[in-house]
């Protein structure tokens, strides 16, 4: 850690002496090393070294944030003064003061210990991996061409030290590994099919063994080739649909995680990522789904992409049940929204980097799995569709009306997977999905993502996951 801790303490003192009611000083360092390949050729090797301090102050009920990468005492104190002065100047426009909930904040130090350090993955090995996977793609795609292949691998070391005027002192270290692929398959008569694959988690190089990307990609390409060559249109009538865990994971992130962010519920993101169909008086009362619909948010999952033990306000993390057996249960809170709701914060404040204010974010969101096998999930489906993966998706700004366009998908006939289906469109409301669940299997799987929110937009690493879920009688669309 290359900041003088005394500087952070003095910055807190400076804010208090100016008259701030609350001062929070966060040092954050993000070191990223990346390599990009196009086909079997290196495009570039990139290194990012970001380091600085973000300061928040509460003054006259107005919230100010300032950041600087001048880590001298003078530089950090200047940031405190700017945050204070600009917040104070805008204070007269506030009708109600901003206040924070009372919390037992942490005094702790924690870190993820990798089995193999990220820095031990040499640049040659990174390049070799990208080439090996390209080779697998070419050897597997026997009947189609591969006009585009892109490989990215990045390692990310993140360190934080949070000091607040209320006694929080939290030091953390989280290393992360990330791999992404873009593959385009082409068959002149059938057109193209595009797949983006991502692998990510906290920890070290040992994750590559767990991911076994080459084998995973070989399976993907083999199946997608078949979809491109033999895929049929989805049925026009309403059918049972088995939504694959990859889509279930994304779906719970979009339609349970985001609408249950308390800042969205209150309108703080109204002009950017939008609001929520959820209103404060619906919590604990409104039924969005049936008893099978339980969605959990948990930053404490070891090895996860969204891992942390204390949030960026110094509040200890814990699992939260967003939807519980179909009911809206517990929104994600920071100390500001917790005060408004009259509850405690559940530690959802995260910042992308030193230059970003902490805001309410998801970490690892998943649909609670059931007991069935995948085969049992298909049983009894006379005619249906299994949608395993997707490319296109989106959702409206209240998190109600959403769309997922399948990539790898199959007809289900008499309880068995049959011919491939091309581009089935699942366009459904949040309640439409969670109310029509008829069965859930036990195969919980997580997928990585970078969740975007805030202004300026902050991308933070998350996992989302779920089992395979069967919903009844849905009409699938086709792409235009």
């Amino acid at each position: 850690m290359s900041v003088d801790e005394g500087v952070l303490s003095k910055a807190v003192d400076e804010g208090l002496s100016l008259g701030a009611k609350y001062v929070e000083v966060r040092y954050q360092k993000d070191y990223v090393d990346g390599v990009t390949l196009r086909n079997d050729k290196v495009v570039s090797v990139g290194v990012e070294r970001t380091e600085g301090v973000g300061v928040r102050v509460l003054v006259d009920g107005s919230l100010g944030f300032a950041s600087t990468n001048d880590l001298s005492l003078e530089g950090v104190l200047k940031a405190v003064r700017v945050a204070y002065e600009r917040a104070k100047a805008l204070a007269p426009l506030r009708r109600k003061p901003i206040e924070f909930s009372e919390e037992r904040v942490g005094r702790a130090s924690y870190g993820v210990v990798p089995k193999v350090k990220l820095e031990d993955l040499s640049v040659e090995e990174r390049i070799k991996l990208g080439k090996e996977i390209y080779d697998v793609v070419l050897k597997t795609a026997l009947k189609v061409k591969v006009p585009a292949y892109m490989f990215e691998l990045t390692t990310h070391d993140q360190e934080k030290l949070i000091v607040t005027s209320e006694g929080a002192y939290v030091r953390s270290y989280v290393p992360r590994l990330y791999v992404s692929l873009n593959v385009v398959l082409l068959e002149p008569q059938k057109g193209t099919l595009q797949r983006r694959l991502e692998y990510a988690g906290s920890g070290g190089v040992e994750q590559l063994k767990t991911w076994n990307i080459s084998e995973d990609v070989a399976g993907e390409i083999k199946n997608l080739e078949k979809v491109l060559l033999e895929g049929v249109e989805p049925p026009k009538d309403a059918v049972d649909v088995v939504v694959g865990s990859e889509i279930v994971g994304l779906l719970v992130h979009e339609s349970a995680g985001h609408p249950m962010e308390a800042d969205r519920i209150l309108g703080r993101e109204a002009a950017q990522a939008g609001e929520s169909y959820v209103k404060p008086n619906m919590i604990g009362v409104y039924r969005v789904g049936n008893s099978l619909a339980t969605v959990v948010e948990d930053p404490t999952i070891p090895g996860s992409n969204g891992f942390y033990l204390y949030d960026d306000e110094g509040v200890p993390a814990r699992p939260r049940y967003l939807y519980k057996e179909g009911l809206l249960n517990e929104p994600l809170h920071n100390r500001h929204t917790a005060k408004i709701f009259g509850v405690n914060s559940n530690a959802a404040a995260r910042s992308m980097d030193y230059a970003s204010e902490p805001i309410i974010r998801m970490s690892n969101t998943y649909f609670k799995p059931g007991n069935m096998t995948f085969e049992e999930l298909l049983e009894g489906v006379a005619v249906g569709v299994y949608i395993k993966s997707y490319m296109e998706w989106n959702i409206d700004d209240r998190r109600w009306n959403q769309r997922y366009v399948g990539l790898e998908a199959y007809m289900i006939r008499n309880g068995e997977l049959a011919e491939p289906v091309r581009n089935p469109v699942l366009e459904i409301t949040t309640q439409g999905f969670y109310s029509n669940i008829v069965a859930v299997d036990k195969n919980l799987k997580f997928y990585p993502g970078t969740c975007g929110k805030g202004e300026p937009a902050q991308g933070v690493p998350v996992w989302f996951g779920g089992p395979n879920v069967r919903i009844s009688k849905v009409r699938l669309g086709v792409i235009a």
């Binding site: 196009r38 050729k41 290196v42 495009v43 570039s44 090797v45 290194v47 990012e48 070294r49 970001t50 600085g52 919230l63 100010g64 944030f65 300032a66 950041s67 600087t68 990468n69 001048d70 700017v82 600009r86 917040a87 100047a89 805008l90 426009l93 109600k96 640049v123 390049i127 585009a148 873009n182 385009v184 193209t192 595009q194 309108g267 703080r268 109204a270 002009a271 990522a273 030193y354 230059a355 204010e357 296109e392 989106n394 959702i395 409206d396 700004d397 009306n401 769309r403 990539l407 581009n423 469109v425 366009e427 459904i428 439409g432 029509n436 300026p456 937009a457 009409r475 792409i479 235009a480």
Partner: protein, 450 residues
């Protein structure tokens, strides 16, 4: 190449110092230093939720050795700190393979400084943006709305570049980005503005237009999915054609992220009504710049002109790969547009509604995602006023619906463009775009069945 202000020389000195120190060890060195002082007022329920400030110096380095290409981004202010960070690069430089996108940095050409990008009023307003935030809010409230949300961003930016080929240049500019979403009951309207200059009337117009769209109807109407003629507001045009401009980057083409993989220059890709220009020399738009990140002079150019694909956007590396000349759009590795100008048409805005006759007016959108970049298959979701028009009259708001189409279809089906320009920049339009309203026919519109 200086627009004014204080502490101007420091970023250029830092860039030159880094090039001097690194030049003996590399074949090519470019150092880009960006220094900014930025304030953003974020509004929530008609009051500020936070005032954010940034005082940063960011350094980017492009280093090449034996055709190996290395980039470094670092938040540091002193040469010794930056040079320390290059140690990691130094360790791996010899182990990396040659880049197929390597090309020598360009020899300096005559870069003509741009004037008119710096507005002292922006700098003055940085420490007290309150009157400007109030002007936006009051203007929206004058339309009878219940509440507003949005942001006002004010920034002073110094950008300095030095290269081992002898280029040395610096620009200082300011910019203002403002957008507001106004709510009236279940209805809402949104508008945005981006400029290098601070104009309180433009900010009032943001509030006014957001308020007008929030109150344009108080009626919800039913809607059936299908093919519709649609009018897309400048916000929607900026968002969707911003994606087209991204795909016009030669880097996107090479990496499989572009519909233009299937086309050649000179191909018809859109209706003859559509022209889209990259305009770095429009000094009123926030990303105006005289030189790109390699020191090549920028220039205004058509990407699409009268429906014909005229240019991909290049840096030296993509240009060498494709056997053409750079277009002054570096971006190291990723070439990109500076500002977009979408050619205007002849229609007055009310005439465009008459021309639409029956269809939808989509005033704002978000969350545009592609199923397949090569085919340009996408969908995007409407937000704020989405209006059903019958016989030239607005019947009411249909709620949140989805344009689900191909970019080629959308661009080829354009039949009219309005004649008044708006300068748009907001959360969903990151490349500043000057454009009017666009009318397109036979566009697929969807919504969920359950």
């Amino acid at each position: 190449m200086v627009g004014g202000g204080s502490n101007m020389k420091e970023p250029l000195w830092l860039a030159e110092e880094l090039v001097t120190k690194l030049k003996p060890r590399y074949d090519d060195v470019a150092a880009l230093v960006i220094n900014d002082d930025t304030a953003m007022v974020k509004l929530w329920n008609t009051e500020p939720s936070v005032v954010q400030s940034w005082m940063r110096t960011r350094v980017g380095l492009l280093l090449a050795k034996n055709r190996r290409l290395l980039t470094l981004e670092i938040s540091a202010r002193k040469p010794e700190d930056v040079l320390k960070a290059t140690e990691r690069i130094e360790e791996i430089a010899d182990k990396v393979e040659e880049s197929e996108l390597y090309a020598p940095l360009p020899e300096p050409e005559g870069v003509k400084a741009l004037t008119g990008m710096f507005d002292g009023r922006v700098v003055e307003a940085l420490n007290n943006p309150r009157p400007y935030a109030e002007a936006m809010i009051d203007s929206a409230l004058s339309q009878g709305v219940d509440r507003v949300a949005g942001t006002l961003t004010l920034s002073r930016v110094v950008r300095a570049l030095a290269t081992s080929k002898g280029f040395s240049g610096m620009e200082e500019k300011t910019y203002v980005e403002a957008y507001l979403r106004a709510f009236k009951g279940e209805f809402s309207g949104h508008w945005a503005h981006g400029s290098t200059r601070l104009d309180i009337n433009a900010l009032k117009d943001v509030g006014l237009k957001a308020g007008q769209y929030a109150t344009i109807t108080n009626k919800k109407v039913d809607f059936q999915p299908g093919k519709y003629s649609v009018i897309l507001s400048p916000l929607v045009v900026g968002n969707l054609l911003g994606d087209v401009a991204f795909m016009a980057s030669a880097t996107a083409v090479l990496l499989g992220y572009s519909m233009f993989m299937k086309y050649r220059l000179g191909d018809v890709v859109a209706s003859e009504k559509l022209s889209m220009y990259d305009v770095p020399h429009d000094t009123s738009l926030p990303r105006a710049s005289a030189f790109d990140d390699e020191g090549s002079p920028t220039y205004d150019k058509p990407i699409i002109e009268n429906g014909v694909l005229k240019n991909l956007l290049h840096n030296s590396g993509t240009a060498a790969k494709m056997g053409v000349k750079t277009t002054g759009n570096a971006g190291w590795i990723f070439a990109r547009a500076w500002n977009l100008n979408i050619g205007l048409g002849d229609f007055k805005e009310d005439e465009l509604i008459s021309e639409l006759r029956n269809g939808l007016i989509i005033t704002n959108n978000w969350y545009t995602r592609l199923q397949n970049y090569v085919e340009g298959i996408f969908s995007t979701v409407s937000r704020d006023a989405t209006l059903l028009v019958k016989d030239g009259e607005i019947l009411g708001d249909v709620g949140r619906v989805r344009i689900a189409s191909k970019f080629s279809t959308l661009m080829k089906n354009i039949v009219g463009i309005s004649n008044k320009p708006y300068d748009i920049m907001w959360w969903e339009v990151r490349t500043p775009t000057r454009c009017g309203y666009i009318l397109a026919k036979d566009i697929n519109i969807t919504k969920p069945y359950i």
